[in-house]
Amino acid sequence: MILLPLARPAYLKSFALAIGFLGALLMSLPAYWFAPRILIPFVAAPAIGFPFLGLLWPQSISSLYKLWNVAVNHFSRLARFFLMTICFYVVLLAVGRAGTSMIVTRPRPNESLWLAKKTLSTDTYRYEFAGTGKHFAEKGWVRNYLSWARTSRQVWAFCLIPLLAMLAAVEVYQDRRPPTGVYTLF
């Protein structure tokens, strides 16, 4: 969602325009409020410079394009850590203070509380782990999560959805496989 696709000339040109536009937009706000005359060059430079470079020599901004993706990856890692910290140390810790509904039974002598796992039929072996490899950011996780919260009577877990949605949004994933539909021998 936030990672730039593998660089090809059209993306480089478009990236240059996007950076120019957003750069100028961001710089124009302080320029408007504080010192218009002084900051005009700072607004004009990205607005003209990046598109000019990108459209005429797309390869000249390929380093910036790569750096941008490096920054996205760093941001993603830090943001995930930050969001999970909030989930745990702010929300879960507070909810935990309300006590537990789990009934812990002490085993009697010579008795085990382990439960036997019901095995799957051999027909399902190839599908057994199919669901585990799914990406967190894939569609449909909200429905599954709500279903789990409802069936397990953990209604409070609904409140985590905005934070989990943010976690999904900051996750980055790039398909490193060669693109399909391309003739190539090697």
């Binding site: 090809r8 996205v72 006590g99 934070l163 003739y183």
Partner: protein, 365 residues
């Protein structure tokens, strides 16, 4: 307890959300740039087709480019998209065979894969008209079958046949190219080569094994069972092509195309490292073998390794770049001129001989 939990969770989640405002702001910036980049790229890149949409099934040959294409396709992601045009039969460019001076048969090199159609060797302004007949992935067997099919249009033409060492020699013996079924050569019970097309159909070939073409090319540079077999198959195919051209009154010239790995010393080392029989490794073996076959058959051969350098090839795929196409176009022009001069000399000699034989005094003199 549930109500307390919900109350605690909603309050703390709200506090948590407030804390995440800086993260959301930065995310918004990254998202805006990514979205604008993806959306804006449509302004700079035309709609492109996949490689499957470039070709279609055709009986016997296996596949050919779709007719009347005017489309863009992607090669390597970083290289972007390239334009291609095909005629009503599916061959590159709209030029007709009948209007051309030179007809080139080949694979993706003849197709002009990896450069825009306007910069291919058949579009370079050399003063001669070149018609290319080829498609990505073709082996020499498919090209011989095409020569047969089009032989009635080849009369008086100079026919240049591209032989690419990267995969052609091995693919002649293989029934498939990735998932596509291809005509190939095999020996029959009397140990003679024959072209096999019975398995060719639109169905996907089940074996997806990687052919490891560089390893195969290294083997073609050695004296091995596979290379002996591949050159024997080449001999058969070149003989077939020569016969077709003789019957069609066309002139056949072979043009061998080295892979870029064969043009540098580093490439030679890389090939030698994966050679199955290092003692017999010789990077010039493919050219030497084809030259020997061509010499025995009296077919001229031009080795592009003597004319091209690594800088005539693209960086990220094995095809020629614009400069490479320009060089090949100039070379094709030279061959055509030379062929025309040779043809004129022959005509003059024939006429002179004819005049002598018709002169009633010639016998006396």
């Amino acid at each position: 307890m549930t109500a307390i939990r919900v109350l605690l969770a909603s309050t703390t989640a709200l506090i948590g959300l407030l804390l995440t405002i800086p993260v959301a702001a930065i995310w918004l910036l990254f998202w805006a740039v990514a979205s604008l980049t993806k959306f804006g790229s449509r302004l700079f890149e035309p709609y492109m087709v996949t490689s499957d949409q470039l070709v279609e099934f055709t009986p016997t040959i296996g596949w050919k480019p779709k007719a009347n294409l005017d489309a863009y396709y992607l090669t390597m992601v970083r290289d972007g998209v390239f334009h291609t045009i095909t005629d009503a039969q599916g061959w590159p460019d709209r030029t007709k065979i009948s209007d051309s001076h030179v007809v080139v048969f080949g694979d993706s090199y003849a197709f002009g894969y990896g450069v825009d159609s306007k910069t291919t060797f058949w579009r370079c302004k050399t003063g001669i008209i070149i018609k290319a007949i080829g498609a990505p992935g073709y082996n020499m067997v498919q090209e011989v079958l095409l020569m047969r099919q089009l032989s009635y249009q080849l009369k008086g033409k100079l026919l240049i046949w591209f032989i690419y060492f990267g995969n052609d020699l091995y693919d002649n013996l293989s029934p498939n190219n990735q998932c596509y079924r291809t005509p190939f050569l095999r020996k029959n019970l009397s140990q003679e080569w024959e072209i096999t097309t019975r398995h060719v159909s639109p169905l996907r070939w089940p074996n997806k094994a990687d052919p490891r073409y560089y390893d195969k090319l290294a083997e073609m540079c050695c004296a091995t069972f596979l290379s002996e077999r591949a050159y024997s198959a080449c001999n058969f195919l070149i003989t077939e092509a020569k016969t077709i051209c003789q019957e069609a009154h066309a002139k056949l010239v072979l043009m061998t195309i080295p892979d870029v790995i064969q043009l540098t010393s580093a490439g030679h080392e890389k090939l030698a490292a994966s050679a199955s029989n290092p003692k017999s490794f010789d990077p010039n073996r493919p050219d030497d073998q084809i030259k020997a076959i061509a010499f025995s058959l009296g077919v001229p051969v031009v080795a592009l390794k003597d004319y091209l350098t690594a800088s005539d090839y693209k960086e990220r795929d094995p095809h020629w770049n614009q400069r490479g196409h320009q060089r090949v176009a100039e070379l094709v022009k030279k061959i055509w001129h030379q062929n025309r001069l040779d043809g004129n000399e022959r005509v003059v000699k024939d006429r002179a001989a004819q005049a002598l034989s018709m002169n009633p005094l010639s016998g006396v003199l």
